[in-house]
């Protein structure tokens, strides 16, 4: 998922990160922020509909990658369906994208919507959300899922493990794990 300055573009396919990057020439993409996800399927099938990032259809430019499980998935799915939303998958992570998009369409900022999600979404999660001009991360109150953060004057990098950050930053980096219940948003 990349922001090309004005809008987000999404690429999903089956294969490892290297294969998909090569297939879609990701190295030629230009943008200010990007999120990516390699999924280990647990609940739903290994197919493209189960792949992250999830786009908040029908809203524009809200997408999410998620590590964890939402235990009130069906409640939220029914609630959001009653509000007229339709889902593209059976994956709980899609809820987060639509949930945030709906909050923002009602006037909330990305940060406010993410803070609300700490109270309203049950289960364990670390998720990253992007809009056309912002990137945010949210970690549940149990800090059950990993997140490593690196911030420098040049970049902000977030990943489940530092080795992923070291794949794009050659030198030793000073990283830390944000704590439980933290929401952080970076605006372009």
């Amino acid at each position: 998922m990349l922001s090309l300055g004005h809008s987000l573009e999404i690429v999903k396919d089956l294969g490892d990160a290297e294969e998909v990057a090569e297939q879609y020439d990701l190295k030629d993409f230009n943008g200010t922020h990007a999120i990516g996800h390699v999924r280990m399927a647990t609940e739903s099938d290994v197919d493209i509909s189960g792949a992250h990032p999830y786009w908040a259809y029908p809203f524009t430019d809200v997408a999410v990658v998620h590590n964890g499980q939402l235990t009130n998935y069906f409640q939220w799915k029914r609630r959001l369906e009653r509000s007229g939303h339709r889902f593209q998958s059976e994956c709980d992570s899609e809820i987060i994208a639509v949930y945030l998009a709906e909050k923002m369409s009602e006037g909330a900022s990305l940060e406010d919507a993410m803070n609300d999600s700490l109270e309203e979404l049950d289960g364990v999660f670390t998720y990253i959300a992007v809009t056309a001009d912002a990137l945010g991360v949210c970690k549940d109150e149990m800090a059950a899922k990993p997140l490593v953060l690196y911030e420098s004057d040049a970049i902000v990098a977030l990943a489940s493990e530092e080795i992923a950050i070291r794949a794009v930053v050659e030198h030793e980096v000073d990283t830390y794990d944000p704590y439980e219940g933290e929401v952080m948003v970076w605006q372009r």
């Binding site: 990993p146 493990e161 080795i163 030793e172 990283t175 704590y179």
Partner: protein, 262 residues
Amino acid sequence: MATVGESRITYDARGLAEPFADAPRTAEIEHGKATFDAKDLTTRQINLELRRLLYEEGIDDVIVLNPGSKHSIGVGILTRCRITFGGSLGYFGCGLIDGPEIHITGRVGWSACENMMSGVVIVDGNAGSLTGAAMRGGDLVVKGRVGARTGIDQKGGTILTVGDAGSMTAFMMQRGRQVICGNVGPGLGDSMYDGKIYVGGTVKSLGIDCVPGEWDDSDTEFIERKFRIYGLGDPPEFQKFVCGKKLYNYDNLEPSERKLVL
């Protein structure tokens, strides 16, 4: 080694990622001290080179440069030696060790020093969650901050954190000591059985059956000794927390005995 379908992905039924790796033999040995660069080595190659030096060459002082935050490095070292990692380690670093003195100049990921039996590990940077999980002995010193559930199921030894600690620190702690100089998140010492926790900063909330403990001379001696050994300066004022033992509902009889009696 089996191949999955027509894909180039292969797997080993024993679960080994690189079942046929060999020690790369790239270390330079000088005056009984070995140094090797881990930058282009895989996890198994790094561990095999470490083991070759420690167990076959009889070297007891090894420097590993550029570990690159790789996972499962320095695991299962069961001999007295000195190891320096010049950089950061990923998940499960230095787990299951018995004896070594290890210095990590960067940070460590989740579950560092899991099930550590004895020795000393000093981490100059931060640590992820589950640091020192099920630790049984030795000293683990983190000069930065630690993540959630530090010392979960701790059964001995000391975990000393200079910075802050996350939620559920010392969850189900059974023995040993934790010293946290900074602030601690919610649920400190939740469901602990025994052991002592010392906190220099604030505690967001105590977990179930974790209560303030009475300070005595042995606590002062312990804190001063550890600060002196690790050159941490003057200790701050600590609060002590112990198990309230309200969750102790153990039956005196073994299950088999219970059946006979009842």
